[in-house]
Structures are given as C-alpha cells and as structure tokens.
Symmetry: C2
Subunit: 291 residues, 2 copies
Amino acid sequence: MLKALAIDVGGTKIYNAVIDENGNILGEVEKYSTPKAFDEIKKVFKEIISKHEQDVDVIAFSTCGAVNNENTGIVGSTGNIAKEYPSMPFTDLSKKPVFVENDANCAAWAEYKIGASKNTTVSVMITLGTGVGGGIIINGKLLKGQNGAAGEMHFKMRTDKHRKCSCGTWDCFEIYASGTGLKLTAQEMTNNPDITTYDVVEGVQNKNDKMIEILDKWQNDIADGIIGLANLFDPDCVVLSGSMAEFVNTEMIENKVNNEIVTTPVKIKKAQAGNYSGMIGAALLGIESLK
Amino acid sequence: MLKALAIDVGGTKIYNAVIDENGNILGEVEKYSTPKAFDEIKKVFKEIISKHEQDVDVIAFSTCGAVNNENTGIVGSTGNIAKEYPSMPFTDLSKKPVFVENDANCAAWAEYKIGASKNTTVSVMITLGTGVGGGIIINGKLLKGQNGAAGEMHFKMRTDKHRKCSCGTWDCFEIYASGTGLKLTAQEMTNNPDITTYDVVEGVQNKNDKMIEILDKWQNDIADGIIGLANLFDPDCVVLSGSMAEFVNTEMIENKVNNEIVTTPVKIKKAQAGNYSGMIGAALLGIESLK
C-alpha cells in the first residue's frame, strides 16, 4: 500500500500527516504555526520531511496559492504568507518525489475520491470561509487552466462597485458568499457597523426575524452564484465546504438553483471528507502521480 | 481525405455544405428557411442528406439546443424552433455515421482548430448576437458537463431583478452582453424606449458622445463578465464571435480584464474562422469522431 506524507500549508497553520492510498490518516496529525519568514517556513518543511520521508513514497503539499500545471511550485501571489513563498523550491526538499497542489483543489479531489462528489462527471467545490475557494473536477481531472490558476471564485455579483473584494476589484462572489460577506450583508441590512457573523448565527438560533432575513439574503447570493456556475459547467454536484458551510440550507439552495438554471439538475451537498480533506486530497493526488 | 456533409440548424435558417478534414468548404453552401413544423424540418434534412451522403464519410449537424454527450441528439429545450425538435432521430437519417453538436460548441471548435484560439490550452468562445452563446475548450476537449448542457452564458451580472433574461430568470450575462442587451442599455441611458442598436452604432460612427458612452457601458459589462470567466477557467484566449462582435474594442476589454483578474493574462480576440464556423467545426468534430 503506497503512502504519502501530506503537508497542508495555510497562512496561519501548517499541518502534516501520513496518509495511505485509500485516504486513511495513519497516526497523528501534527500542527505548526506558519512562521512569518520564508526561511523559517522552509525549515519547518525540512523538519517535517526529515521526520517522515523514510516511511512514505511521496511528499504531497496542499498549499495556499495557485500551483503550476507540473505540480512543482507556486504561480503568482498567495495572500497572507511570506511574500517569497512562491519561490519555494518544493521539489528540492526531499529525495522522494514531491507533489504540490492548491489546497482548494486538494479538498475538491478528496470529496471526489472519498466524499460528497464521488462518481460524478463534473463537480464544483466551493469553500465558504473567511474567503471563498474553489476546485472544479471535469471527467476525472482537476480544472487547472493555462497556468494552474483556474477555479477562482471571483466572478461579479454586481457591476456598480458596491463592495471591495480581497482580490483588489469589486463585488466578486467571494465578498458576498464568504463569512466576510455575511458580516457585510448584516451591516448593510441593520445599519449596525459592529454586527458580526456570530451575532447573525446566534440570532437565527434564537429565531430572530431580522437575523433570519439576513442569513436568507446571504444564502440567496450563494444560490445566485451557483446558478452561474451550474449554467457554465452543467455539474452533477456542487459541494459546499469550509467553516461557513454549516449555516447553509442545501435543500433551499438546490431548489432555487434547479428552478433557475437552463442546464440539467444539480445536487447541492455539504462536504463529507472531513477537516483534513486538503491533506487527504494531496496524498491521493500525490500517490496517483506515481502511477 | 475524409469529408463531412455539415448541416447548420438555426431557428430561422438551415445551411449545408460539404467540408473536408482541413476545414475547407467544397462547392456551394446551400440555404433553406427553417420550416415551422417538425416533419417539415425532418423532410429538409432528408432532402439534404440524400443529395450528398454518397460523397461524404459522416453527416455532421451543428444545431441550436444542448446536445447529449454521445453526440446523437438534443437535451432539453432549444428556443425558437419546433417544440418536438429535441426528439429528432438524427442517427436514423442516414446510413452513414451521424454526428451532432451544439452550434456554439461547433463554432468554438472551428476557432480552436483553424481560427483565433489555435494551439491554446483553454479557450472560451462567446457569441454575441441577438442572444449570447458559449463554447469552452479545455485541453483539447469541449466542456460538455454531466449531460451536454455546459457552456451556457447565463451567470448573473446583478441580483436585484433588473432585466428579465430570455432564459426566464433575471440579469444573466446574455441580457447585458447581447445585441438585445446593448439596446436595453441604450434605452436605460437615454430614457428613449424606441432607440435601437443601429442608432447606437450609427451614433458612435458619427462621434456622438452619448452613443459612445452607451457603447462603452455595454463593453464594460462584457469585460466584467469575461473577468469572471477568466478567473474560473484561466484561459489562454477568449474569442468573441457573432454579429455584435464587430462593435467591440478587444484591446480595451483585454486591458481591463487583465488589470482585474487574479489568474494569468488572457488574450481577447475576434473570431477568425468565418461565417460558416459552425458547419466547419461540426465537420471537423464529425470527421474526428470516425478516427
């Protein structure tokens, strides 16, 4: 049975685990804080790899940032991690094969192999967190684009420059469908600049009408975005993952989407591959790359 | 040299021509008006086929409507053609092999093989006419989706139910980027319900400031839509075709798009495969399906 050392790299935490070709996590998941400096990040990678590389067949990174089509390194910017990170020489870090893929793509792959989108022809995964990530799988292949940067959920929800998005432009799906988006929707609908996503979620639990209306508006925006994705990709399944996915009513969204699309009916599901889906997907992709 | 009888089926006209495996049209392009009744349409198909089938290796349809993944028939509705058209028994119409594909997909394929998006990894074609069509090619394959309906340019430009779209919902890219969209933009910006796209185009030629402003707004909407497509697909190239494409400034759109996307730079080009790109693409796909 082939095994991978999976390393998940985010702006705040680095996780690692040994994972087999069925997606089972063997032993402990280890956790580090992501260092600020590039050299310190590299040192953490080397420490993890030297500890585990003799036990595995491939080192598989699930990382923030777009990853090239050769799965060897980063393309372009990566948000809140050391600015030199795109120059990380991943393939030099071990004598074992090294495989790199974007974290949202890895998570989408885990859902496709062992989770909510198993056995689909076309699936779209949307990660709803502080921001929004995306991973699209078409006929058993990740959609990578010309240079590996595809799957970015930055399409416009309006064109009149209403909300500034993290990407520097205006009114992307991310700034409506994310946790940040829910907070901004709440602020706009209450004229209270201090309201938080937590207030909304708690208010909904306490059956507060205004908070329910705010959550519905946020979900409506998510559905409106999915309508566009469904018309473009004609997917079997859209998987919602990430910390904000638990507040979504998938049945309501599925009904609205299927009422409005011109393509064929789509299932809306919550992710099933668990919190470590990024590492699991990276491991499965890394092991597959050996074959 | 293999040859196809290509038949292009639209709501108003049916064209046909014999085309070789290099995309050359051999002889005359013939033209029929599309009959209203299903049986009459079938009769036209039979007449065309009986006239040419002995000279070709495959019958290749470029048709309105979504086409299934087996390229044998229509999936779902098709707009302004006989309502029974989706039940057309294409493969029974000839003893020669019959191949069917959606017209926008065929035109995108012609651009990919002999036109503006030759040698690209990922290309998106957008047909700007009365409506908007789309065809997306990823790693040498048409994006078809789970059932063949992918590539529909119905993603929202706003979410406040401003313009009703031909698809029955609201505010899709089509109802902003199409000729109809330009007319509606002109009506909104002049408060003149009788203004036409022709008035705008003529006004722009005569350097009328208001008409230039209207055309710019329309092009800005097209660019905003392409930004979303570029972030989703990371394409090498977006090809603009159709009767409205001649009024588009591709350089302006390319600059705006590349300033705003998070993915890698994309080229915006006008179509180069000519007015019969649907038939040419169908012929090339049909011939390829024999191999």
